[in-house]
């Protein structure tokens, strides 16, 4: 068999046309120096998180509270959503419900057309990424300007963000400088972050002032008051929302928290987990549109109710999108967000995305060694590594696995349940490795051998030794 087909049969699960995580990761790792740089940059963010966390003696208590509040909320979600809706409407906010990405996009388009909106600015919203809003609107002649600096950079470059908090973390200063030179006319070769940020400030300031519609995300939606909170460091969400005559806030159903006092817990957890800051520069609390403004909230399902119905995976909905799990994940740091081919990458993405599309995301739960670091940094104590293991079982039982792998596993199970067959197989394998080393010492057939020597094959197994010496 052609070695290429052998690899594909055994190592590539059945999935859609995008590169699997392992294939994309292999390409990423070809530039080892860049991989080191990406890895160290994100590890640095993990270290900042550690430093911030160690200053809060009640940190573990906060995590437990955050986790328990979210667990409770999910168990009463429908009531909290209707409470939220009622209170928000009483405050003059229009509420929309979208069952899926398409409906979410259509609602926004409708508002744009009805209100004759010409310019749109958008601050960071992973939900709008998930719904591919920008592409949808662009195809219908509406340009959306992403105003978070990192997002604007990747928007100019026509690529998706690679990290939900640090969208351009995969880019170096030189890359940003080239992009800004091309799109903003900045000095060629000037890589100074201060200079480049100033250029973006001036450019986007115009957009804020000119735009009629500002789209934002929602970090937390408060059921008891009908209000919502948006957190940024740059101030771009507010610059957009307070200047535009229409503000649309997009939220997944799971963004609800019961009461205002719970914000104390979540705002203490969020920024420390995300970037090691005690709080973001701006934590804006919206309750009513300003005078003369229209305010809309779109409440989106897009697979979340389905996840809610999965007992093993529903707690993934507790996620507050801090990306602490990304920063600690040794695999994410060495493969980059784009290799996960989804809006939300990293460990949390690997347990959220299979719910949306098992076929396309069958590779993600396997992009992990199950080391468990993610679960430890999660501010709301999602058992991410446990869910990664469980998704593997789910995907295999649904048939999303390479045929070769299935055959090999069945063979392994058979051998390991029959002690004498196990012993003979082991003996034969060791004999073959000693007699014909070139069979496994072959980079095109044996992936282990690409960059590692095989272990030595001893003449005696331990059992052989035991029988000879101890019995």
């Amino acid at each position: 068999m052609n070695p290429k087909n052998f690899n594909r049969l055994f190592f590539e699960p059945i999935q859609a046309a995008t590169l699997s995580h392992s294939a994309a990761a292999e390409i990423f790792n070809k530039d080892e120096a860049r991989t080191d740089w990406h890895d160290e940059t994100l590890w640095f963010v993990r270290e900042k998180r550690d430093k911030a966390v160690k200053q809060i003696s009640e940190w573990e208590q906060l995590r437990t509270l955050g986790s328990d509040i979210k667990d409770h909320t999910l168990s009463n979600l429908d009531n909290y959503l209707t409470e939220f809706e009622k209170n928000a409407q009483a405050n003059g906010i229009k509420i929309h419900w979208a069952i899926d990405a398409e409906e979410h996009n259509e609602i926004i388009l409708r508002i744009i057309r009805e209100q004759k909106v010409q310019q749109v600015v958008k601050s960071k919203s992973m939900l709008t990424e998930e719904c591919h809003l920008n592409d949808f609107l662009a195809q219908r002649g509406v340009e959306v300007v992403d105003t978070d600096l990192g997002e604007r950079i990747v928007q100019f470059r026509n690529e998706p963000p690679s990290h939900i908090v640090l969208p351009a973390i995969h880019l170096k200063k030189q890359d940003v400088s080239e992009t800004f030179h091309e799109h903003l006319g900045t000095e060629k070769g000037n890589n100074d972050p201060q200079y480049l940020t100033e250029a973006a400030r001036q450019h986007l300031r115009e957009k804020f002032i000119e735009s009629q519609l500002a789209i934002t995300g929602v970090n937390f939606a408060i059921a008891s008051t009908g209000g919502f909170v948006v957190c940024t460091n740059e101030g771009n969400a507010d610059m957009g929302a307070h200047a535009a005559k229409i503000h649309i806030a997009c939220m997944g159903i799971e963004k609800i928290i019961p009461k205002v006092e719970h914000l104390g817990v979540f705002l203490r957890l969020l920024a420390r987990s995300a970037t090691g800051q005690p709080i973001t520069t701006y934590s804006s609390h919206f309750h009513q549109p300003r005078v003369g403004q229209q305010m809309h909230i779109i409440i989106v399902d897009n697979g979340r109710t389905k996840q809610l119905g999965r007992p093993d995976f529903r707690s993934s909905l507790k996620c507050i999108r801090c990306a602490a799990c990304f920063n600690t994940c040794p695999v994410y740091r060495r493969s980059g967000g784009h290799s996960y081919h989804t809006a939300v990458a990293g460990p949390i993405g690997s347990i959220l995305n299979p719910n949306l599309d098992m076929k396309a995301n069958a590779d993600l739960p396997f992009a992990s060694t199950l080391c468990g670091s993610c679960s430890n940094v999660c501010p709301v104590k999602i058992d991410i590594h446990v869910q990664l293991y469980k998704w593997r079982q789910e995907l295999v039982s649904e048939g999303y696995t390479a045929t070769g792998k299935k055959v090999a596993m069945k063979g392994m199970a058979f051998v390991l349940s029959h002690p004498s067959i196990y012993r003979i197989t082991g003996k034969m394998a060791r004999w073959m490795m000693r007699a014909f080393p070139f069979i496994l010492n072959n980079k095109s057939i044996n992936p282990w051998y690409k960059q590692r020597e095989m272990p030595e094959a001893p003449k005696q197994s331990f059992r052989d030794w035991y029988k000879k010496n101890k019995q």
């Binding site: 168990s75 002032i209 005690p278 973001t280 520069t281």
Partner: protein, 197 residues
């Protein structure tokens, strides 16, 4: 069936049995107001803010007068500091607010653990003001500093007005190769005058 009904129906079917809501019972690590002030200053300065402690507002009044003479577009919203800029109201256009160089506003309380200040909408006059001005100055009474966010939320009423914000420092970003740049889209600097009467 509307999407609303479908979603709520799906939640009702799929949600787990009711889990109890926990009680928040966090004790602050210090009961001394002096500690809170010290921590507030330390943290706000570490995140790019400047803090100046004053026992009287005279210095600020003078500063505003001089700056206005100097030709900068200074906005003052506190009557005790002198003439208030009455043109700043909730309907003022962004294109006009854009030219504000410095704005003086009053804060409601400060949070020691994170160096943030709570601002009510009525204090900022226009929601855009604290963001769109080039430099922001907040006047805050020293005795309005609380140890942490739990305490803060007990003392403010976030739903009382249409908008409010915890503001902690000047705007910033580290989106370009993790280099911290102070002054992103919001104000380029934040100065907090802590006033003890």
């Amino acid at each position: 069936m509307s999407s609303r009904e479908k979603i709520l129906g799906a939640i009702s079917t799929n949600k787990p049995a009711l889990i109890e809501l926990p009680v928040i019972d966090i004790k602050s690590t210090s009961n001394l107001a002096a500690d809170w002030v010290e921590q507030f200053i330390k943290i706000l300065e570490s995140i790019g803010g400047t803090v100046i402690q004053l026992s009287s507002i005279d210095l600020i009044k003078k500063e505003i007068q001089q700056a206005k003479i100097g030709g900068e577009y200074i906005v003052n919203t506190l009557p005790i500091l002198g003439e208030v800029n009455t043109e700043i109201n909730s309907t003022m256009e962004a294109s006009l607010l854009e030219t504000v160089d410095r704005a003086y506003i009053e804060g409601s309380l400060g949070v020691a653990e994170n160096g943030s200040v709570w601002l009510y909408e009525h204090q900022i006059k226009n929601r855009l003001l604290p963001f769109i001005c080039q430099h922001l100055v907040i006047c805050l009474n020293t005795n309005k500093i609380v140890p942490n966010l739990h305490e803060a939320y007990k003392q403010i009423d976030v739903a009382k007005e249409g908008y409010g914000v915890f503001l902690a420092g000047p705007s910033k970003t580290a989106d370009i190769e993790q280099s911290l740049v102070i002054g992103a889209h919001g104000a380029r600097s934040l100065l907090v005058y802590l006033i003890s009467e």
